[in-house]
């Protein structure tokens, strides 16, 4: 599976099917990307669980922080990793000890760990790396379009007026599946840089 670019259908099916998301590295500081993403996904109806050992005893949008994945009291569908790339491997190992297993490992924008990915995939999990679920949800629903972002989707259907807390339809016609030249080139430039470093 190519982890430089993802087909929209892959992302869409993950976001359509997962319900419970444990966000590892969720921050209570309201200017951190993890806080925005947590809040957005909670408002779109996902059952969000903040995981951060430094914040146990506190709440994030009414949800109590837990110290680790093992402390979660219910089955989770997806682990969203808001930590640096090195932390992803031990986290995937933790996730693979859960029963039942989560279905998806999602690593945030800027987070990529191919070893962790291979381990999760070998156990039958789906993996997304270097993406933000908030951005992808906003893009596929075209809610993100207010800021001129290319949702890469089309629709001739009248959308319902969005209200707070509403799940939005992600089932629009995809334009390019994310596999644009530009995305490939960006990945390539990153690789060049890593090889030079």
């Amino acid at each position: 599976m190519n982890h430089d670019t993802y087909d929209d259908n892959y992302i869409r099916s993950i976001l359509n099917n997962v319900k419970t998301i444990a966000m590892v590295g969720a921050s209570p500081v309201n200017v951190r990307p993890s806080y925005f993403a947590f809040k957005y996904l909670a408002q779109r109806g996902y059952d969000m669980i903040p995981v951060n050992p430094g914040q146990v005893g506190k709440n994030l949008m009414g949800k109590p922080f837990v110290a680790s994945l093992a402390d979660i009291d219910r089955p989770i569908d997806m682990v969203d990793i808001f930590r640096n790339s090195n932390a992803a491997l031990p986290l995937v190992k933790d996730a693979l000890t859960l029963n039942p297993l989560p279905k998806v490992i999602w690593m945030q924008l800027g987070v990529r760990n191919d070893e962790a990915c291979a381990l999760a995939e070998a156990a039958g999990l789906q993996v997304v790396m270097n993406r933000c679920p908030k951005i992808e949800y906003g893009r596929l629903s075209s809610e993100i379009s207010w800021m001129g972002v290319n949702s890469r989707t089309l629709s001739s259907k009248r959308a319902p007026v969005p209200t707070q807390g509403m799940r939005l339809s992600l089932n629009r016609v995809s334009v390019s599946g994310g596999g644009t030249n530009a995305a490939d080139r960006a990945a390539q430039i990153k690789d060049d840089k890593n090889n030079n470093a």
């Binding site: 959308a159 599946g177 530009a182």
Partner: protein
């Protein structure tokens, strides 16, 4: 299953637009409003803090304008776009995110005269130093790179010469220098050339020209290709470092591959204020729906007129990259295979005076300072658009004193040829 890719004409009509959620209006409504109500204080705070998607105030964004932005981003193959009040506003807004006083950018000498002015004078007063290079000699770009270089700026097809720039060669220089390549794609439009496919990191347009296409509105747009890593060194602190006015958010970390577009909006539009009017956005959207049809006709007409002129005894030389034998013909075949655009220049054997008399004898061509209209246009750049340049700059920009520029419109080509014929004989 992979997603199917709709074609260019489908995107020109559908990208960004969806029936209005409230009324069901199929065409994009004109949201002629300054501001948008918040649901509650929390909603307002999260919008201002860039935490939620939504509308605040039309200087920062507007639903009509957003449709235009998404459409142009889709046509160019970029991740996001930001519309501005003019093409020039797009240039200053884009560069503001990249340059600080004392920084440099390299620009092709062959540019629209107004851009040469903007770079030489207005930008100089900001402490942004332009270093000129010759797009016909790539080594001049290589030699111009210094540790202060922050961007390279070129036009895909250059105004007024219509010459074709070797985008891939200059992109290689930019990549080696670790700076983004900015391409002004006004003359080509994405129908003819998609600079991102050839290595551009940022694409700019004067929407005033072919995208609008009807000579009715001024506007500009910035497209983020999403290809540049702004955080790899300390060259672009606006994108890589915490923004004090947004509580320490780092734009690239938060917005990933459309961070540059976000910077242009939440810093550029917010502070410089050059926002597009929603009414103009509506007119541009209407224009873009027919872009592929219009652009092809522009090119076909231009080629016919250029061929006719090259055989005319009063004409010295026709500079149209679409003609075999033109020095840019190979580049045109590579970068712009559907046609070499609507714009070209020619010189008359009778020199300056013959040029002036041609302009005054034409009955269908309009003598004015614009390009990319349905109507055919004529101008003498040396005395108008490029008049503020020195003679040397004029020649370097492809606007010598004996030269006439045509922007070929969508009329019947026989009528355009007949008009030129009578004007050359008169």
């Amino acid at each position: 299953m992979t997603d199917r890719l709709p074609g260019f004409a489908t995107l020109a009509i559908h990208a960004g637009a969806q029936p209005d959620p409230t009324t069901g209006a199929r065409n994009t409504p004109i949201y002629q409003t300054t501001s948008f109500v918040f649901n509650d204080a929390d909603h307002a705070a999260s919008l201002f803090g860039l935490q939620s998607f939504g509308n605040i105030y039309t200087r920062l964004g507007n639903p009509t304008t957003a449709v235009l932005e998404e459409r142009v981003a889709a046509l160019e193959g970029g991740t996001a776009a930001v519309a501005t009040a003019s093409g020039h506003a797009a240039q200053v807004t884009a560069l503001q995110q990249l340059l600080r006083p004392g920084d440099e950018f390299i620009a092709a000498r062959k540019l629209y005269g107004g851009s040469i002015n903007q770079f030489s004078h207005a930008f100089k007063s900001f402490g942004w130093n332009v270093v000129w290079a010759d797009p016909d000699d790539i080594s001049t770009f290589e030699r111009a790179v210094t540790p202060r270089t922050r961007a390279i700026f070129i036009e895909s097809l250059a105004n007024p010469s219509g010459s074709v720039t070797d985008i891939e060669a200059i992109s290689a220089v930019a990549r080696k220098a670790g700076v983004p390549l900015i391409v002004d794609n006004t003359l080509a439009s994405p129908y003819l050339i998609r600079p991102i496919d050839h290595g551009a990191d940022i694409v700019l347009h004067s929407l005033t020209k072919f995208l609008g296409g009807h000579g009715n509105s001024i506007g500009g747009i910035i497209v983020d290709a999403g290809t540049f890593d702004w955080s790899r060194d300390n060259k672009y602190p606006i994108l890589s470092e915490p923004r004090p006015e947004y509580h320490g958010i780092k734009l690239q970390e938060t917005f990933g591959n459309f961070a540059f577009a976000i910077a242009c909006r939440v810093l550029g539009l917010r502070d410089l204020g050059a926002a597009l009017s929603p009414f103009n956005a509506f007119l541009f959207l209407t224009g873009i729906e027919t872009l592929p049809l219009r652009m092809q006709r522009h090119c076909d007409n231009a080629k016919a007129v250029a061929e006719w002129l090259s055989a005319h005894p009063a004409v010295n030389e026709v500079n149209y990259a679409g003609l075999t034998g033109n020095r840019y013909n190979n580049l045109a075949r590579k970068y712009s295979p559907k046609g070499a655009g609507a714009l070209f220049t020619f010189t008359l054997k009778g020199g300056y005076d013959a040029g002036v008399s041609l302009v005054s004898n034409l009955k269908l061509f309009s003598h004015l300072a614009n390009i990319g209209d349905t109507r055919s246009l004529v101008i003498h750049p040396a005395s108008t658009t490029h008049s503020q340049l020195t003679d040397e700059q004029k020649i370097q920009a492809g606007a010598g004193p004996d030269l006439v520029r045509l922007s070929i419109g969508l009329e019947d080509k026989e009528d355009l040829i007949a008009d030129l014929d009578q004007a050359l004989q008169a």
